[in-house]
C-alpha cells in the first residue's frame, strides 16, 4: 500500500503532461495547471499522512535475492510529509512563474513539462525516503538525479544549460557510484540488501559500505568538494532550485546519513569525517555566500553551508537534531528562493547590485525578512532553535567544535543580512522601480512566498518550553543538553554577523567597482569549478586521443599483423587489393590443403596456426571480395559448400584417429 505514496505523483506526471498540452495559453491555463500540480502534491501529502497513521508498508519481489521494500521510520515520515508540503507551494508558484520554452515571437504557454517533471521529482524523492533496502534506495537515488537533469535543462535552447545540467548530473552520479559500491559491499557481507540486515555487516566490508554511503551522501548534499554542482544547477528555473535545495535532491544526502546513522556510526571514523566535512563546508560555504553577488548563487552556497551544519550534527551523534534543522531550513530556503525569483522578475537579473526592491515590494520584503532572519539564526524563529541545538551537539564532542559551529552560525547571519539588504533593502543606490520591460510577479507567486514565511513563523513554536522535548519523544530522537555559555556565544556571534552584514552592504554600496579576480574566484567556490573544468578538458582530450589511437593503432596493428605491423591503413588496403587480385582461383585449393594441415598440426597446438591462419584467411576472403565486386556471388556459395565439405572431411579424419 505504501507504494502509492511515491507511485501516485510519478504516474500522475505523464497524465498531467498529456492533459496540460491541451491547456490554453492564457492565465486560466496557468491556474488549471497550478491547481492540478498542487492537487497532486496535496494528495501525495495526504497519502503519506494516511500511510503514517495506518503504518503502511510494502514489498515487491524481483528475485529470490532482491526484494524491494518500503516502510516508515520517524525520519522518513518527516521527510515524506515535508517534501510534498513544500512542493505544493513551489509547484503553484512555478505554474505562474515559468513558461514553456519556446522560440521567440510565440506567445508563452504554461510550463506543463516543468510542472509534470516537478511532480515526478516529488514521487522519486518520496520513494527515496521510504526505501527500506539499498536497491530501492539506489533506484530512487538515481531517479532524483535524472529528474534534476531534466529540470535544470528546462530552457533547452541554451546549450549552456544542458552543459550545466550534465555537470550536475555527473557530479552527483559520481557520488552514486559510492552507493553502488556500498550496496555491493552489503550484499557481499550479508547476502541481502535490506537495511535491517546491515547490522550484520562488519570488518572491511563495513568500512567500504560506510565510505560508499558517505561519498554518495556528500555528493548529493553538496559538501566539499562537490559543492560547485549546486552552482551549475542554478541554470535551472528558480522553483527548481527552491525544490532542489529545500526538500529533494540536496536533502537526499542528509536523509541518508540520518536514516543510516546507527549503522554508519559503527565505524570509528564516521563521526570525525562527517564533522570535518560538515564544518569545512559550513565555513567555506559561509565565506562563498558572503562574497557572492549573484542572488541565487548566494543562496546556493548558503544551502551547502546549512547542510554542512546538519552533517556536523550527525557526525556529533545527534541525527535527530539534523532532522529538525532540515525541516526549519526547508521552509526558510524555499521562501528565499521564491523571493529571489520574484526579485529577478522586477530587477531583470539575479545580480544583487541591481535589486534593493524594499520600497517597491514592501510585502515581499517583509515576508523575505522573516526567512532571512530565520537563516541568520535570530531568536525566536525555528531555524535558530535547530541551529543552537546543532552547536550544542557539537559541544558534546568538544567545546572548540561548538565555537567553530557558532562562527559558522555567525557567517550565516552575515550573508543572510547581506542578502536581505541587497535584495529588499531601502534603495539608496540601486534602482527602486521595476524596469518597464520587466514582467513583475503574480499574486500566486507572492502567496506561495507568504505561506512559506508563515510556516517559518509557525516553527518558532520550537522555542516554546517543552515543545522540544515533546518533539524528541514523538520522533524518538535524542536532543543534547543546552549549555548557557554556548547559547550566549552563539547569539553574540549572530549579532556580530548581522552588524557585519550591514557594514558590508554599506561598503559595497559605496564601492560598486568590479570584483577583483581573486574575489570572483573565491566567490565561485575558491576556484574549484575551474579546477574541475580543467580536469574535464583533460579527460575529453584523453578520450579523443584514445579514439584516434583506436582508429589508427589498434585497428591498423591488427589488420597489419598478417602483412606488416607498421604500415598505414591505406597502404595496407592497397596491398590487400593486390593480394586479392593475385590470389585468384587457386586460393580455394590452398584453403583446403591448409585446413588439412591444421588438422595435422592439431597436436602442435592451435595457437601456432593462428597467425598463419589469418594470412590465409585474408587470401581466401580476398577472393570472395573479388567475386562480390564482379557480381559472381554464386561462386561464394560454392565456396561455402566446399568449406563444409572440407569440414566433414576433417571430422572424418578426426573420428578415425
Amino acid at each position: 500500500m505504501l507504494w502509492f505514496v511515491p507511485l501516485f505523483p510519478m504516474l500522475a506526471a505523464p497524465g498531467m503532461y498529456w492533459l496540460g498540452k491541451r491547456l490554453s495559453a492564457r492565465d486560466s491555463g496557468r491556474a488549471v495547471l497550478g491547481l492540478m500540480g498542487a492537487a497532486v502534491a496535496v494528495v501525495t501529502l495526504l497519502l503519506a499522512s494516511v500511510a503514517l497513521m495506518g503504518d503502511w508498508g510494502g514489498a515487491y519481489r524481483w528475485s529470490s535475492r532482491i526484494v524491494l521494500s518500503v516502510g516508515m521510520t520517524p525520519a522518513s515520515a518527516v521527510f515524506a510529509i515535508v517534501v510534498p508540503l513544500i512542493a505544493t507551494l513551489i509547484i503553484a508558484y512555478s505554474a505562474y512563474h515559468e513558461s514553456e520554452p519556446l522560440s521567440e515571437g510565440v506567445p508563452t504557454r504554461p510550463p506543463v513539462r516543468l510542472v509534470a517533471l516537478l511532480t515526478a521529482f516529488v514521487g522519486a524523492m518520496e520513494l527515496l525516503v521510504l526505501a527500506e533496502d539499498l536497491v530501492t534506495l539506489l533506484i530512487a537515488w538515481e531517479l532524483v538525479g535524472a529528474c534534476s537533469w531534466a529540470l535544470i535543462a528546462h530552457e533547452w535552447q541554451e546549450a549552456d544549460n544542458l552543459r550545466d545540467a550534465a555537470w550536475a548530473f555527473l557530479v552527483t552520479r559520481f557520488g552514486d557510484l559510492g552507493l553502488y559500491i556500498a550496496a555491493a559491499a552489503a550484499f557481499a557481507g550479508t547476502g541481502s540488501f535490506a537495511f535491517a540486515d546491515l547490522s550484520q555487516l562488519d570488518g572491511w566490508l563495513l568500512d567500504v559500505f560506510v565510505a560508499g554511503a558517505v561519498l554518495a551522501a556528500a555528493a548529493k548534499s553538496a559538501q566539499i568538494p562537490f559543492s560547485p554542482w549546486l552552482f551549475a544547477a542554478m541554470s535551472g528555473p528558480t522553483p527548481v532550485s527552491a525544490l532542489l535545495h529545500a526538500a529533494t535532491m540536496v536533502a537526499a544526502g542528509i536523509y541518508l546519513v540520518i536514516r543510516l546513522h546507527a549503522e554508519m556510526a559503527a565505524v570509528a571514523w564516521f563521526g570525525p569525517v562527517a564533522i570535518t566535512l560538515g564544518l569545512a563546508t559550513a565555513l567555506a560555504g559561509g565565506v562563498v555566500a558572503y562574497l557572492q553577488r549573484h542572488a541565487k548563487k548566494l543562496l546556493a552556497a548558503s544551502t551547502s553551508a546549512q547542510y554542512g551544519l546538519m552533517w556536523l550534527a550527525v557526525g556529533a551523534g545527534f541525527p535527530g537534531v539534523a532532522l529538525v534543522h532540515f525541516v526549519t531550513h526547508a521552509f526558510t530556503k524555499a521562501a528565499l528562493f521564491l523571493a529571489a525569483g520574484i526579485a529577478e522578475r522586477h530587477a531583470g537579473s539575479y545580480s544583487l547590485n541591481t535589486m534593493r526592491l524594499g520600497r517597491l515590494l514592501p510585502g515581499i520584503a517583509v515576508a523575505t525578512m522573516v526567512a532571512s532572519l530565520a537563516l541568520a539564526g535570530v531568536i525566536p524563529l525555528g531555524a535558530s532553535w535547530s541551529k543552537e541545538e546543532i552547536i550544542t551537539a557539537a559541544g558534546h564532542q568538544a567545546s572548540w567544535l561548538a565555537v567553530i559551529a557558532a562562527i559558522a552560525g555567525g557567517l550565516s547571519a552575515l550573508y543572510a543580512t547581506r542578502f536581505q539588504l541587497l535584495a529588499f533593502g531601502q534603495g539608496l543606490h540601486g534602482p527602486t522601480k521595476t524596469a518597464p520591460s520587466q514582467p513583475g510577479h503574480s499574486s500566486v507567486e507572492a502567496g506561495s512566498l507568504y505561506l512559506l514565511s508563515a510556516g517559518t513563523l509557525v516553527l518558532s513554536l520550537l522555542w516554546w518550553p517543552g515543545v522540544g522535548n515533546d518533539l524528541a519523544n514523538l520522533l524518538s530522537i535524542q536532543l543534547p543538553q543546552t549549555k548557557l555559555w554556548e547559547l550566549i556565544l552563539s547569539l553574540l556571534l549572530v549579532t556580530l554577523g548581522i552588524g557585519a552584514g550591514f557594514w558590508a552592504v554599506r561598503c559595497e554600496g559605496s564601492n560598486q567597482s568590479r570584483q577583483s579576480e581573486t574575489h570572483a574566484a573565491m566567490a565561485n567556490w575558491f576556484g574549484l569549478p575551474a579546477l574541475a573544468e580543467r580536469g574535464i578538458a583533460t579527460f575529453m582530450r584523453f578520450s579523443h586521443g584514445l579514439a584516434r589511437f583506436d582508429d589508427r593503432v589498434v585497428d591498423t596493428g591488427l589488420r597489419g599483423r598478417g602483412v606488416s605491423a607498421a604500415i598505414s591503413f591505406s597502404h595496407g588496403l592497397a596491398r590487400f587489393d593486390d593480394r586479392a587480385v593475385d590470389a585468384g582461383i587457386r586460393t580455394s585449393a590452398r584453403f583446403g590443403v591448409w585446413l588439412a594441415k591444421v588438422s595435422d598440426r592439431r597436436g602442435e597446438g592451435a595457437f601456432d596456426g593462428a597467425t598463419s591462419l589469418l594470412a590465409r584467411g585474408i587470401d581466401w576472403a580476398g577472393q570472395v571480395a573479388r567475386q562480390v565486386h564482379t557480381g559472381q556471388t554464386h561462386h561464394y556459395y560454392t565456396g561455402i559448400a566446399a568449406g563444409f565439405a572440407v569440414i566433414f572431411i576433417i571430422l572424418g579424419i578426426g573420428a578415425l584417429l
Partner: protein
C-alpha cells in the same frame, strides 16, 4: 517441435520470398513482418511452458544424423538461452518491421533478414556443437550480404572486413570444437554430454589451448578489446536495421558462446583464467566507454558503447566462473546480471541503432556536431532517443540498471577491486550519452534541418514496442529473473 518450428518458419519464409518474384514491396514487407513474429510467439509460448524447477535443458529435440560421428540435430534451451532467443526474435521482428529503403530489392532484403533470423536463433537453440558452428557461420553470411548490398559509405569494404575478421574467429572455434569432440569418449558433439562430463578437466596444455581458441573466437564476436575493431566500421556502413541486428543479436553469440561452451564445458580451466578474463572485461568496459566518448559520429559512438556493455556481460560471466565456493550467491548474481545485460543491451542498443537508421534516412549525416535543437522539430524521435540513451547509461527503472546492478553486486563479492574500477564505466557512459543528446536535440537548431520530419507511425510503433520491453524489464523484471535464475542456479552449482 516448438524449437524446430521457431527456426524453420523464418527459413521457410525466406525461401518463399526468394521464389515469389511478382510480390510488391508492400506484400513482401507484410509477409516478412508476419513471419518474423512467429518465432516471438513460439518462444513466448515456450517461456510460459518452461519448468523452472526442471532439468537444465528443456524442449529437447534430437534426430540422429551421422550416429557414427556423434552428429545429430539437437535443439534445446535452458532459461538463459530462452531469454536471449526470445529477445533476439523480438529484435529481428522489430528490425524487419522498421521501414528502410530496400533499393528496389525488397524480396532479397526481407529474405536475407528472415534467413538471418532463422540461423541466429539457431545459434541460441542448438544443443550440438556442430549445429552451433553451422548456424554461427551462416549468420556471418547473412550479415555480410545485408551490409554489402544495403549498406552505405564503404559498404563493401566494411562487410568484407566484418566477414574476414569474424570468420577468423569462427575458424578458431572450429578447431576448438574438434578438440572438444575428440576429448570425449565416445566422440560426440552433444553439448549436454560435454557439459556433464567436463572432458578436459585436468588435461593441462591441450585444455589451455582449446580454451584459448574458444575464448579468442568468442572474444572477436563479442567483441572484447583489443579484437573489436571490425565492429565500428561494420556498424557505420550497415543499414539501420542490420546494425540493430548486428548489435542486438550477433554480438550476443559471442557472450552466449562463452557462457555455453568454455564456461559450461570447461569449468575448471575457466576458473583458472577467470581473473584474466575479468581483467579484459574491465578494460573493455572502460576503453569502450572512453573511446565512445571521443567519437564525433553518432553511429560510431553507439557502436563503441556496445563494447562497453559487452564488457559488463563478460565480467559477469567471468565472475560466475571464478571458483569461489563461499561466494556462490554472488556468482549466481553475476551470471543473472550477465544474462539480463545481454537481453537489455539487445533491446536498448537495437532501439538506438534503429534511431540512427531514422537519422540516416532523413539526412544521410552522422556527424553529431552538425545537429542541434531537434527537440521541437522531432519530439517523438527525441523522446525515444532520450529514453533509450538513459536506458543505456543504466538509469534505474529501465532494463540496463537491473543488469548492471546484478553484475556489480556479484563482482564485488569476488573481485572487489574490479567492481570498483568497472563501476566507473557507468559514469563515462552517462557523460557520453548526455553529451550526445545535447548535440542532437538541444541548443539552437541549424537551419538546414528545418525540414527534418518526425518519426512516422511505422517507426515509432516499432520503437514503442522495444522501449516498452526495456521499461517493463526495468520495473518488473521478475518474469525474466525467475527464468534466468532457474538455469543460473544450476550453472553455478548452487542446486
Amino acid at each position: 517441435m516448438i524449437l524446430t518450428a521457431t527456426l524453420g518458419l523464418p527459413m521457410l519464409g525466406a525461401l518463399v520470398l526468394a521464389v515469389s518474384r511478382r510480390w510488391t514491396e508492400t506484400t513482401a514487407r507484410l509477409f516478412a513482418v508476419g513471419v518474423s513474429l512467429l518465432p516471438v510467439l513460439l518462444l513466448a509460448w515456450a517461456w510460459l511452458q518452461f519448468d523452472t524447477q526442471g532439468a537444465l535443458f528443456q524442449f529437447v529435440e534430437e534426430v540422429p544424423w551421422v550416429p557414427s560421428l556423434g552428429m545429430a540435430y539437437r535443439l534445446g534451451v535452458d532459461g538463459i538461452a530462452l531469454a536471449i532467443a526470445t529477445m533476439s526474435a523480438l529484435v529481428f521482428a522489430a528490425s524487419i518491421a522498421y521501414p528502410i529503403n530496400t533499393q528496389n530489392q525488397p524480396r532479397q532484403y526481407y529474405a536475407w533478414m528472415l534467413f538471418l533470423q532463422s540461423v541466429s536463433l539457431g545459434v541460441f537453440l542448438a544443443l550440438d556443437l556442430l549445429l552451433f558452428y553451422v548456424f554461427f557461420d551462416l549468420s556471418l553470411v547473412g550479415m555480410f550480404f545485408l551490409i554489402g548490398r544495403w549498406g552505405h559509405g564503404q559498404a563493401q569494404h566494411s562487410a568484407f572486413k566484418f566477414f574476414l575478421y569474424t570468420f577468423c574467429g569462427s575458424l578458431l572455434l572450429l578447431l576448438a570444437f574438434i578438440g572438444l569432440y575428440l576429448s570425449v569418449e565416445p566422440h560426440t558433439f552433444d553439448m549436454r554430454v560435454l557439459i556433464e562430463q567436463q572432458p578436459l578437466a585436468g588435461a593441462g596444455v591441450s585444455a589451455g589451448l582449446i580454451f584459448l581458441a574458444l575464448m579468442l573466437g568468442f572474444a572477436i564476436k563479442a567483441p572484447i578489446v583489443p579484437v573489436h575493431t571490425w565492429l565500428p566500421q561494420a556498424h557505420v556502413d550497415a543499414p539501420g536495421p542490420a546494425s540493430a541486428v548486428l548489435a542486438g543479436v550477433l554480438l550476443k553469440m559471442g557472450t552466449y558462446g562463452i557462457l555455453r561452451i568454455p564456461y559450461s564445458m570447461m569449468g575448471e580451466t575457466f576458473a583458472r583464467y577467470a581473473l584474466i578474463i575479468a581483467l579484459f572485461a574491465v578494460v573493455s568496459i572502460l576503453y569502450g566507454a572512453l573511446v565512445a566518448f571521443g567519437q564525433g559520429n553518432l553511429k560510431r559512438r553507439i557502436a563503441y558503447t556496445s563494447i562497453n556493455h559487452m564488457g559488463y556481460t563478460v565480467l559477469g560471466i567471468a565472475v560466475a566462473g571464478a571458483l569461489f565456493q563461499d561466494a556462490v550467491y554472488a556468482r549466481e548474481m553475476a551470471l543473472i546480471g550477465a544474462t539480463v545485460e545481454m537481453v537489455a543491451h539487445g533491446l536498448i542498443t537495437g532501439a538506438l541503432f534503429l534511431i540512427c537508421g531514422s537519422f540516416w534516412q532523413r539526412t544521410e549525416e552522422y556527424d553529431l556536431d552538425s545537429y542541434g535543437g531537434l527537440l521541437r522539430q522531432a519530439p517523438l524521435l527525441a523522446t525515444f532517443a532520450i529514453l533509450a540513451s538513459f536506458a543505456s547509461l543504466g538509469l534505474p527503472g529501465l532494463a540496463g540498471f537491473v543488469a548492471e546492478f546484478h553484475i556489480f553486486a556479484g563482482t564485488f563479492a569476488v573481485y572487489p577491486w574490479l567492481a570498483v574500477i568497472g563501476v566507473l564505466g557507468i559514469l563515462i557512459t552517462a557523460a557520453l550519452f548526455l553529451q550526445m543528446l545535447q548535440k542532437l536535440f538541444f541548443g539552437a537548431m541549424p537551419q538546414r534541418w528545418a525540414k527534418f520530419d518526425d518519426l512516422r507511425p511505422a517507426e515509432w510503433g516499432v520503437l514503442g514496442v522495444l522501449s516498452a520491453s526495456f521499461v517493463i524489464i526495468g520495473i518488473a523484471p521478475q518474469f525474466l529473473l525467475t527464468l534466468i535464475e532457474a538455469s543460473a542456479t544450476l550453472l553455478v552449482g548452487a542446486r
